[in-house]
């Protein structure tokens, strides 16, 4: 998991929902409402960053240690990969 470079496959995309003023992930027959952390993770899913680098960047952004952030990031990515909306 740590070295994979997560990306959103075609047909899965982030969008700002203007009417409800929130960010959502649009996917086949699915709409995921995102919290702040989820959004920050998915914004980085462009195939250029490893899961480990993502944890480090999020830790820095939220003032936490990578050890604290890593399990949440990995659990989030695994959950979304199981739903076939993130490719690891």
């Amino acid at each position: 998991m740590a070295n994979c470079r997560p990306r959103l496959p075609r047909g899965v995309r982030l969008r700002h929902d203007r009417v409800r003023d929130r960010w959502v992930l649009l996917a086949p027959e699915r709409i995921f409402e995102l919290d702040e952390i989820g959004l920050e993770i998915l914004k980085r899913c462009d195939g250029s960053v490893t899961a480990e680098e993502m944890s480090a960047a999020l830790a820095a952004a939220f003032g936490a240690s990578p050890e604290e952030v890593r399990p949440d990031v990995e659990a989030f990515l695994k959950d979304f990969a199981d739903k076939r909306v993130v490719d690891l």
Partner: protein, 362 residues
Amino acid sequence: MNAPSPPIGLLAELTHRCPLQCPYCSNPLHLDRRSAELDTATWKQVFSEADALGVLQLHLSGGEPTARADLLELVSHCASLDLYTNLITSGVLLDRDKVSALADAGLDHVQLSLQDIDPVNADQVAGFRGGHARKLKVGEAVVATGLPLTVNAVIHRRNIGSIEAMVELALGMGARRIEIAHAQYYGWALRNRAALIPSYQQVVEADETVRRLRAVHSGRIVIDSVVSDYYARFPKACMGGWGSRALNVTPSGKVLPCHAAETIAGLVFDRVTERSLHDIWNSSKAFNAYRELDWMEEPCVTCDRKDSCRGGCRCQALAITGSATLADPACSLSPHNTALRGSAVRESAALEDSFAYRRIEA
């Protein structure tokens, strides 16, 4: 009444024309003719209004949506609005070039129907010779463009034993998702119920198969299921609630809370050509008819499940009991439930095998 929250999805039935004749088609028995269909400019206007209203996902359906010559133009328009577009197709009118053009126009997802794993049975169910083979080619073309593919399999007595094989086929095609959708008995499927409905034992086995396959294929393919409610204990909350999440526009421009809503006599449906989508969603009588729960009768009024099931499906209540304000007969608490289950048990054992194929009446 507070203003309703905006819809997230819109099902656009671009046309009722379709080369297939599936006997469980979700379209109404009375189909719109080509001459009654909305023109390109009106559909674009509808999509712009839907976007402004809060719709995020647009389901381009039919009939067969690829029978519309302006499909590419409509998809491009939706893409310019940043609407997520889902093409719900039988695939038989598509080829590699058309699929590529749709992908280039900004289409987001393709949902391709398969009738069965066995080509002979599949073509017989669809009433279209050679259809199954074409569908497989189109599925290949979709995956080749990089677009996500969902396989939609409507389940009934003639293919319920093929669920595992259909999931394998979908995996082999490169689909990321499959819908195992038990036929829902409205319109054409209700007319053909005796030839379609599975037995209780078959439904139980099908549910077990789906659960097992989900575990086996977790992370490879998403298996969603639409359950058969004739043998259920409690009904499904129709469309996530009447007028609460989605709306449907017919080929001629009527706006419905669900695709079967026109069966409910006494409701008048506004047209996109006469009123804005915003007005229709927020204040039309038809959309407000069952939004609240004040129409309920017993056993629903005093039932503690009413906020979650919302009385079940109004169209099924009407189709089976003759009244749209009674409990959905799929509920075990409905006085009509015994009769509903009884008809399913009787019909699934009688093995009627002839279909009334879906056709636009001459």
